[in-house]
Symmetry: C2
Subunit: 411 residues, 2 copies
Amino acid sequence: MTMLDLGQETERLLKWLGEFGKDSDGGVSRFLYTPEWVEAQRALELLMKDEGFTVQYDDVGNLYGRLEGTTYKDETILTGSHVDTVKNGGLYDGQYGIIAGIVAMKYLKEKYGQPLRNIEVVSMAEEEGSRFPYVFWGVKNIFGIAKREDVEDITDAKDIPFVEAMRNAGFNFRKEDSKIRNDIKAFIEAHVEQGGVLEIEKKSVGVVANIVGQRRFNIEVKGEANHAGTTPMGYRKDAVYVSSLIVNSIMDMAKKYSDPLVATVGKIEVKPNIVNVVPGNALFTLDVRHTHKDILVKFTKEVTDKMKEIASETGVEIKVDMWMDADPVPMDPVLVQAVKEQCDKNGLNYKMMHSGAGHDSQIMAQFVPTAMLFVPSHKGISHSPLEYTEPRDLGEGVKALIGAIYELAYK
Amino acid sequence: MTMLDLGQETERLLKWLGEFGKDSDGGVSRFLYTPEWVEAQRALELLMKDEGFTVQYDDVGNLYGRLEGTTYKDETILTGSHVDTVKNGGLYDGQYGIIAGIVAMKYLKEKYGQPLRNIEVVSMAEEEGSRFPYVFWGVKNIFGIAKREDVEDITDAKDIPFVEAMRNAGFNFRKEDSKIRNDIKAFIEAHVEQGGVLEIEKKSVGVVANIVGQRRFNIEVKGEANHAGTTPMGYRKDAVYVSSLIVNSIMDMAKKYSDPLVATVGKIEVKPNIVNVVPGNALFTLDVRHTHKDILVKFTKEVTDKMKEIASETGVEIKVDMWMDADPVPMDPVLVQAVKEQCDKNGLNYKMMHSGAGHDSQIMAQFVPTAMLFVPSHKGISHSPLEYTEPRDLGEGVKALIGAIYELAYK
């Protein structure tokens, strides 16, 4: 396998892995602990064995393939991503991190032989939260921070209990006395961008410096439902009108703060939602993200004050409920610098950037030095059968990964 | 019965009539040609007979109660309204016009005896369109403008055909050779306001000079669905943001035009409607009403231009589809003046106004001189079990009706 083949080999394996859980319309639905999920992990296990990796599962079903190091036997360089998908997802989200890791390790093994430090690729059990109301089950179990009680009473849409699904798949809770791994010296996750920045800026690779923090809100505007014909404009308490004033203010403020701040009103429900009734009630969501906590806090405080001010001026009630508050997660600066240098050294067309989406890396980064690599998402599309990354870019991402792992594991 | 008893007598009869089709929670659901509807018409028939009115149904089930005139036997003064209700409606919408007519005729008969011209009260079969997708079935059949083919293929929510329901209730299509009545010299409909203006302005009676015209639109904004975290603000085509700009513009323009123009965005549907996805698509309705056609046309033209301008500036597609265009209907100026004079003469606390809602009178006015009287709706509530009008105001409305009918039928 030459450098030139990396992209095609990666695409071939993505398509192969995408057969497990393939939907009739071409998408992939592979939920945690389903038969398709089990088949995918078993197939990856065989692939890794074929490549000469040492393979093992942990208690909950994270799958590891390992090249043993010759010298620093208690030091491991880890790569990989999650094997589960959203409902009717694509071939790239999650899958790419696993396949890129396998292809990189295969290349390194063929070209340089046994590394000084262990290299491992992990196919993590779950990240998306698509089947059960729980996310990051895979990575959280690597570090023993997934709590048994958080999943003991949850079920999927068919009322199958989490615990039953897990046991039927052949796995179980992490043993209480399992030691937390302290051999992982670095984790590098390759992933698709899930945004359009790389494609628009014609870059093949993104080196991620940090993952944004997120705050999410439910906002309820309570006005008064009235007859659309018989209620003069001056007598109205129109929840849609007030909401539109609020959305405008939020967007104006977000643009003034400028990148990387993003604010999204993605979901709206209006009551009674009838053409000839002045709407009495509007419920909408607000999702705000930024790489720096202080700015995230400042912006959301200002927006909340502004929303209350508009409600007061227009004589309606408002309820602002923050139900998610996740801090930004910086990647490890030393590791990011090392990855960046490899991109330079290999002449890759890359860009320093942040991740606007959440990833396994944000949990990983709390425990081990972590970095992320992005490849472009065509039109920014993700969580869709239409996900696409050109083979050339898939290959460029693998090259960056190869460079970084070589630097970390062979020197 | 003295003038002082009119309100209480009216309220008593409204409650009595409201028993037919009463819902378990106190509202009224009385749809065209249902058993409850048949029972209500039969009960009204008996009530009218008890009062000494000559009673008859027409082919489709409109019920008329008549006091014969002594002198002008081919001239009739008509009052009344519709007997059907919306789903879970109240005691006043429709019912009030029938009961007010009966109480007024009873009073006139007792006090003044036989009139010079015939006086009739009509309990019209249908106005709300609550059971079948057809409105004004009752009044349109009085003038032979309801088309057989418009109802021949329609069914209710339980798939019962219109024609079957009609025949089971004992009625049938209007005979082709029936003569159009040319004896009706005036129609006066008493109705609840269905808005809050009379209550806010502390008036007991509204004299309606015209019924608004309406234009209704579906507006679709097509942007681009994108990941809420990975799509910078500058790269977005956010359908909710653009819609909020449009709603703001519409409301600003509507306020500048001032009363009686009203504009309502009552219904919104967002796609994909997910908290963490920049919305790609927003569909919303616009309902615009005004008493003058030229202003209605001018305003909706300006709003449509403005919407397209905003869409163009923000780089999204827009589709503006007008699916209803009903002209304003003026009431008969001579008749309105006569009603107004009776209000003055009887010392009623009244207000000249327009109707922002549609009524049987808007069809009636195309064929005979027509006027409307409103009484207040508490908090403007209508189409709800919470509809309420104080007995005193119910009585003031009946007084206005008595004055007008006396003037028209006894002189």
